[in-house]
Amino acid sequence: MERAVPLVVPLGQTEVFQALQRLHMTIFSQSVSPCGKFLAAGNNYGQIAIFSLSAALSSEAKEESKKPVVTFQAHDGPVYSMVSTDRHLLSAGDGEVKAWLWAEMLKKGCKELWRRQPPYRTSLEVPEINALLLVPKENSLILAGGDCQLHTMDLETGTFTRVLRGHTDYIHCLALRERSPEVLSGGEDGAVRLWDLRTAKEVQTIEVYKHEECSRPHNGRWIGCLATDSDWMVCGGGPALTLWHLRSSTPTTVFPIRAPQKHVTFYQDLVLTAAGNSCRVDVFTNLGYRAFSLSF
């Protein structure tokens, strides 16, 4: 059967380069603006693109509505994580956190408000920051990544208040358990650790790969994504995506998804998850039904 040949457009040097860039692009992080109308996405080239959700989701959406409103080079390395406060967008990648004003970002050529680097032990290679977490009650930001530690930064003063040590390999993801308040972190070492923010001590450790129901040795033991709903936790990565009951530290449901999951979140009563390794952000409006994709 002949495969339909797509139309070949005469491409100059720049068009070829852009096409190749898009083919090899990975979007690592995304964040919705405080007003809810814009989505910021960060990719592996260090660029941040702002999409207009209201235009893309409206009934008259055309192809151009799905293109970014503005794109700029934010970091030198990949932008691994982003999080939004009520006025700022915080992005982190190669070792530093930068803050941007949401109101300013839509204009071309905007500059970062500030940038901070947590105190690292090694200076040979700058460790990446894989996860950012906002703790609204203390108005602080938790960073975790390549140096296997969790750093807390006070958003008002910009000083680094605590360092939580315990992981043996770099940290992939963070989640906040609001009631306690506790922070959960999952890492390359295969363990999910719970930390108490008031005492700055590790409270609980779950070594996921040691449980037979969910471990998949051929994938590895790393925990790629984490989400918590105070009593429950979902985590996945090398091992299969599993729902845990926290107090008893037992796995309750194992989701039958084959690919290692990269992002997961609780939304009302549904679990939304994405395992993207392309330049597209898949928007799931219902579990299992993909509405459309936003593309760089």
């Binding site: 990949p78 691994y80 040795p217």
Partner: protein, 694 residues
Amino acid sequence: MSSESGKKRKPKVIRSDGAPAEGKRNRSDTEQEGKYYSEEAEVDLRDPGRDYELYKYTCQELQRLMAEIQDLKSRGGKDVAIEIEERRIQSCVHFMTLKKLNRLAHIRLKKGRDQTHEAKQKVDAYHLQLQNLLYEVMHLQKEITKCLEFKSKHEEIDLVSLEEFYKEAPPDISKAEVTMGDPHQQTLARLDWELEQRKRLAEKYRECLSNKEKILKEIEVKKEYLSSLQPRLNSIMQASLPVQEYLFMPFDQAHKQYETARHLPPPLYVLFVQATAYGQACAHMKSSQPPRQDKTLSVAIEGSVDEAKALFKPPEDSQDDESDSDAEEEQTTKRRRPTLGVQLDDKRKEMLKRHPLSVMLDLKCKDDSVLHLTFYYLMNLNIMTVKAKVTTATELITPISAGDLLSPDSVLSCLYPGDHGKKTPNPANQYQFDKVGILTLSDYVLELGHPYLWVQKLGGLHFPKEQPQQTVIADHSLSASHMETTMKLLKTRVQSRLALHKQFASLEHGIVPVTSDCQYLFPAKVVSHLVKWVTIAHEDYMELHFTKDIVDAGLAGDTNLYYMALIERGTAKLQAAVVLNPGYSSIPPIFQLCLNWKGEKTNSNDDNIRAMEGEVNVCYKELCGPWPSHQLLTNQLQRLCVLLDVYLETESHDDSVEGPKEFPQEKMCLRLFRGPSRMKPFKYNHPQGFFSHR
């Protein structure tokens, strides 16, 4: 007392009656001029009113007398008769009175009439006088108005304005003192001045005419002189030929070429002129060489000039020929009718006919290889085509995979993006093709040459898509603006193809030729090695399962060249499908990988393979090497070998499988995994020699 009055009157009457007979005669003798009747004098004296009373009284008396007579007659008697007689005599007297009165009345009337008549006549005379006078008055008035309206011719002349007149006219004409006050004199003076001026101008005009005649005569003389010059110059040129040859300045040769160039069709002519100009400009810029000896670009015209001249034969000759050939044709058709297909074939051949002259350009590159371009013009289609050939200083042994690199068919493909030269650039040709059943020009490009867009531009032909023009004329400025870039692109194309040619020879032997100035990009020890390098067909590339992304992105057209490389280390086999764009090396080759080691890994199921592709496809600028970046492909292949090494050595050991790792880690890496995607360290850092993440 009528009778008394009658009596009174009677004597008057009688007297007048008695006398008239004599008086008449007397009076008529004596007073002949004035009065015929004596009563005429009486009329003035008597009062008409009393006469009227008398008349009335007389009539009454008569009536009475008649009545008495009647009475008497009716009574009868003797003395009646006397009475009657008396009365009769009285009535006769009354009759006389009446008659006189009658005469008086008539005379009065007549007098009255005469007086009226006289008066009337007078009045008439006055009236007539009045009419005459009025008529004269009218006449005079008319004359006056005529005189007043009279426009003398002098008013039609446009005189100079008063100020100018006083300024310019000499004082003896303008006479300011007199003329200022008196407008009549002023006008006269002005007219005088006008006359003066006109006389002077008429003089001038005559002078100018005579001048003109003189000058015309001089021009004639000079023209004759110039025309006599031409044959003399020709003879000098002839005489200078041996001198030209001696000095290596072949003006004559160039002149002959220009002569031939006159017979070129317009687009070829534009190309010829622009290319020669460019060639001379380049030669001028190289000051180290003796002038005009360094010919990086040489232009020549080939073909038969006679045939070109024959195209424009005068109509009578061709008609004669036609009639002859028609006669011949008729004879042949009677014997054997050519089939419809043959007729169509002839029509096609006619449509695709080339002009007998062609322009040949030879581009010499630095390494003494030459690109020979022959440009043709298709007359009926109004497009130009080109055939290309590359010759090198030394004989080239063509490796198997390099077959298409320098082939005349494809060496110039896509010089500009998208310019594949398989379709005719002139939109009007489609209608002509439909008539003779030609589907597309690409069937004939092998013999006719390729109608690239840049070829049309060099010939000054522009076919705008939005407004198809009726006739497209060759434009020099279009050709001039594209000449330099096109020549440079042609040279880079030839050189890059030749470089690839050499590299392919080495690649087929399994050696990736990395030049010394690119060694720093790679670590000293590279274990994976290239095993195979072959060409694959476009269709085969499209069928491969791991190339779908490139195909979907529209980067795998049929103008590209496709190759398959195989890199091996131990049990691991890495297949790399390569898309080589004709615009190499400004457009990088695109690699798609498929690794066979513990299962099949491609970019769809292994992010690290995707990262490896990104290292060679996206980060190619680091691998370009020194300009003109002919090392790009070989550097990319070498980097792939390095990446395979890193991949294999950093693969995490699966605890469930027994046995040692097949590839012990030899590369120095700071961290094995980084980031949420857990990438391997593919970036090589020079000169420290360790691997890190991007």
